[in-house]
């Protein structure tokens, strides 16, 4: 079910998040990115776990299809519905296809669904929100109303409508995820841009002769990246869940392409009949991916935010 608008609007009245009397020390020159990253991992094991999983997923996405033991599409009916064994680590599905190969091969598709959805919604929602927050006036009203209209829609039904209307290709699933996340990104970007619109360094940039457009790109957008990074990592998780939800009601990816969502949806009807592994392993992969993306958010924010790098 799609990303329930995993909402994390910055607390409206921006109570200063500066914890009590921590001391500002004059720090030595900035450490390299790699040393900084290593430090974040040490300081926060969960983020370390997230980075590890992300690397694993990335590898599976890139090399997956070439290293799988069986052809993910080859059916073998007399080996159908076998429990996990040494021959088939994750067992076989209704058509005798090796589930382990399909799960690994599916990583590439699901990973790209996640990445493209996030990229699209960042471009659509993020930039629209920043413009609304920075310029205010009618842009703000229009973006606000569009966001409200989409928000007023029951999001999952909207996604279904889009996919049913335009056909269930991967592109449409990505588009549907982007549209239903638009309000969240617009709202967060608008709030962050609005807070920074009259900041000292923006005024200073105006004094240096920067036009509004350049101000947006060089001053405002880079500074809201840490917050957007957290949101983007959450959306990546939900994009895949969304695809799974759509598959469950028959609007998912076209068969027989391996994709976690559709494999879980197909396997779901076999749980009660005892063949738990058909849905379990793609579900596990899905869970690890979404789990990793969600926890990645905090890690990415620490990495991207210069304040943390002292």
């Amino acid at each position: 079910m799609n990303d329930m608008a995993k909402v994390e609007p910055a607390p409206a009245q921006a109570i200063p998040a500066e914890p009590a009397p921590t001391l500002r020390f004059e720090a030595p020159p900035s450490t390299s990115l790699w040393a900084h990253a290593r430090h974040i991992v040490a300081e926060n094991p969960v983020t370390g776990l997230a980075f590890g999983l992300f690397a694993l997923i990335l590898l599976a996405a890139i090399f997956g299809p070439s290293i799988v033991p069986y052809d993910p599409l080859a059916s073998n009916t007399n080996a159908a519905l076998q429990a996990p064994s040494r021959a088939h680590w994750f067992g076989t599905d209704q058509l005798g296809r090796d589930i382990f190969s399909r799960v690994v091969a599916a990583t590439r598709l699901d990973f790209s669904i996640a990445i493209f959805s996030v990229a699209l919604v960042f471009l659509m929602g993020g930039l629209a929100g920043v413009m609304a927050g920075f310029y205010g006036g009618w842009i703000d009203k229009v973006v606000g109303r569009v966001a409200d209209t989409i928000m007023a829609f029951p999001l999952f039904v909207l996604a279904m409508g889009i996919v049913a209307a335009l056909g269930n290709s991967v592109g449409n699933i990505v588009l549907a995820t982007a549209i239903i996340n638009f309000p969240l990104y617009a709202r967060v970007a608008r709030a962050e841009a609005n807070v920074r619109r009259d900041a000292g360094f923006v005024q200073a940039a105006r004094l240096s002769g920067n036009s509004d457009w350049r101000l947006l790109l060089t001053q405002i957008v880079p500074n809201i990246m840490p917050i957007m990074a957290v949101q983007m990592s959450l959306t990546m998780g939900y994009a895949i869940l969304n695809a799974a939800g759509l598959s469950f009601i028959g609007l998912g990816v076209r068969p027989p392409t391996p994709e976690w969502g559709i494999m879980v949806a197909e396997g779901a009807s076999f749980i009660v009949s005892g063949e738990w592994w058909i849905a379990f392993f793609p579900g596990l992969a899905l869970m690890i991916a979404v789990f990793c993306f969600n926890l990645l958010g905090d890690g990415v924010r620490d990495l991207v935010d210069p304040q943390r790098r002292n």
Binding site: A80, Q94, L95, G250, R254, P255, P256, V272, S273
Partner: protein, 528 residues
């Protein structure tokens, strides 16, 4: 002032009252049946436009017809099925076909409607006139049995009713036994009809019939509760007093209910579940090969690559019949491969078996590899999807790359109506179990919506029409053999298998009766 103690006392008292009421129901549990189905009726009037498949069940159990199919024991046991030729009277006590064979006169039994009024021939005429003129599916079905004009229906007197035939059609009488021509309490319908001669709106939400059951409550999408009509005269009084049919969308949940014994009867489970239930043996699974029913791969003869008959034959040769029966139907069907010489029966296996070499040769002869798309209705994806994947794989072996397109329900009808799709997987089963009836719908030149291959062959049309109105059995058999031989060669549709219609029943449930409309018949069921 209500102190806490009195409030508690009152609280305690209440459940006793409620429980006794529940007791009344609990006693009924032995005579109540819980049936779980995927989705319930969207109307109570099967003749109404847009009525869904489950509405047939309402027509079957809550209304009576002139005739009905005589129960015939299922060969493997476990209940009864029907056979086209054998009919018995329902409202009709007796019936007599005229010597010239161009009419049939029915003597009505003295049966009463639920409203207590006697059933008369005028009610029968009003109902059959309505079926022929209301349009949509009802009229199409009546026409299929040459029941086309209200003039054919004559009220001789209160208790006798005559049907005049337009032509000698062996399907006319059986067509009176299907669910559509049921008899309304016309007076009640007209009174509440509010100006509409067919009283469509009122009859959509109310029953005005004489059937074995009445509808106690109907919550669309949730449940339908039937209660027995104690003064039903048209057959043995059913044993079950109350039937609850509940809509449970998820098949897994339905299976869990059956295995835990919380549901008495369940239809429409995926074949895998039926096979498991059968193997486990905790509940009875009764399967009847669907008469006149065939899973076929329709190859478009007008548009696209399969215009060339050799390619159609290649698909027939390479079709993975066994694999499909195993992996998509889990053995719940009869394979349509390896047929010998044509017989007077439908469905029957075609003379093709899985033979990749022969198929490859045909493809090369017809111009080598190409790519195409295969469509199927998302509605029956549980069976069709694995089938499509296996076909895609088999065709790839002979150079035909297939892209699978799973089309949602509403769009599927629009797609096949266009008649432009090269390959379509579809299951069709006519209610009247005759070979010519099947071909009339799926391959006849009249290009009905089910002629998905858009097959146009005047020679075949002549044979099918001849068979339909054949005066005697000999010429009928000859025609059938001829058109089966033609179709086996032309292969506009490659029959893959004949699926069985399965139902799971708790051990305590007996008296299962299969009906061509494939809806549950409560009238014969017994419990305990």
């Amino acid at each position: 002032m209500i102190t806490r103690r009195t409030a508690i006392a009152a609280g305690l008292a209440a459940p006793f009252v409620a429980r006794s009421q529940a007791q009344a129901q609990a006693v009924g549990r032995a005579e109540t049946l819980l049936l779980v189905q995927e989705y319930g009726p969207n109307s109570l009037d099967m003749q109404g436009i847009g009525s869904s498949q489950p509405v047939n069940g309402v027509a079957l159990n809550c209304y009576d017809r002139l005739l009905r199919f005589k129960p015939v024991p299922i060969p493997g046991g476990g209940g009864n099925t029907i056979s086209m030729g054998e009919l018995e009277g329902e409202l009709a006590e007796s019936w007599q076909v005229a010597s010239d064979g161009m009419s049939c006169t029915f003597k009505l039994r003295d049966a009463t409607f639920h409203s207590g009024r006697k059933v008369t021939a005028t009610d029968v005429k009003w109902s059959l006139d309505r079926a022929c003129t209301i349009g949509g599916f009802a009229t199409t079905q009546m026409n299929a049995g040459s029941l086309e004009k209200p003039e054919q229906f004559v009220v001789v007197d209160e208790k006798t009713f005559r049907v005049d035939f337009i032509r000698k059609d062996k399907m006319t009488l059986p067509n009176l036994a299907v669910t559509i021509p049921f008899v309304f309490d016309s007076e009640l319908a007209i009174k509440n009809g509010g100006g509409d001669p067919h009283a469509k709106e009122w009859l959509k939400n109310n029953i005005a019939g004489s059937g074995a059951y009445k509808v106690e409550s109907w919550k669309p999408g949730v449940e339908t509760i039937y209660v027995r009509n104690d003064d039903w005269k048209c057959g043995k009084l059913p044993q079950l007093r109350r039937i609850i049919a509940r809509d449970i969308a998820s098949p897994s949940t339905r299976r869990a209910l059956m295995e835990r014994g919380d549901a008495d009867v369940s239809y429409g489970l995926p074949p895998k579940d039926f096979k498991d239930l059968l193997d486990a043996g905790k509940v009875n699974v009764v399967g009847v090969p669907i008469p006149n029913g065939v899973w076929g791969c329709y190859l478009n003869t007008q548009v696209g690559p399969f215009k060339d008959v050799r390619l159609r034959q290649a698909v027939a040769w390479v079709m993975p019949y066994e694999k499909i029966l195993q992996a998509s139907l889990f053995g719940r069907g009869v394979s349509m491969a390896g047929g010998t010489d044509p017989k007077v029966a439908w469905p029957q296996p075609f003379p093709y078996t899985s033979d990749v070499a022969k198929a490859k040769a045909l493809v090369d002869a017809a111009g080598g590899p190409f790519s195409t798309t295969l469509y199927f209705d998302a509605g029956n994806a549980t069976v069709a999807e694995p089938m499509a994947v296996l076909i895609k794989e088999a065709l790839a072996a002979i150079g035909i790359t297939v892209e699978i397109n799973k089309v949602p329900g509403a769009n599927f009808r629009t797609e096949i109506a266009k008649k432009t799709n090269p390959m379509v997987l579809n299951r069709f089963a006519g209610w009247l179990d005759y070979p010519d009836y099947y071909l009339f719908w799926t391959m006849h030149g009249n290009n009905s919506i089910f002629n998905i291959a858009a097959y146009q062959n005047p020679a075949l049309d002549k044979l099918v029409d001849a068979a339909r109105f054949a005066p005697d059995k000999a010429s009928y058999d000859a025609n059938v053999i001829d058109f089966v031989k033609l179709v086996e060669n032309e292969v506009p549709m490659v029959p893959i298998n004949q699926p069985t219609h399965d139902v799971a029943l708790q051990k305590a449930i007996g008296g299962y009766q299969f009906q061509p409309c494939r809806e549950p018949d409560f009238r014969y069921l017994t419990k305990g």
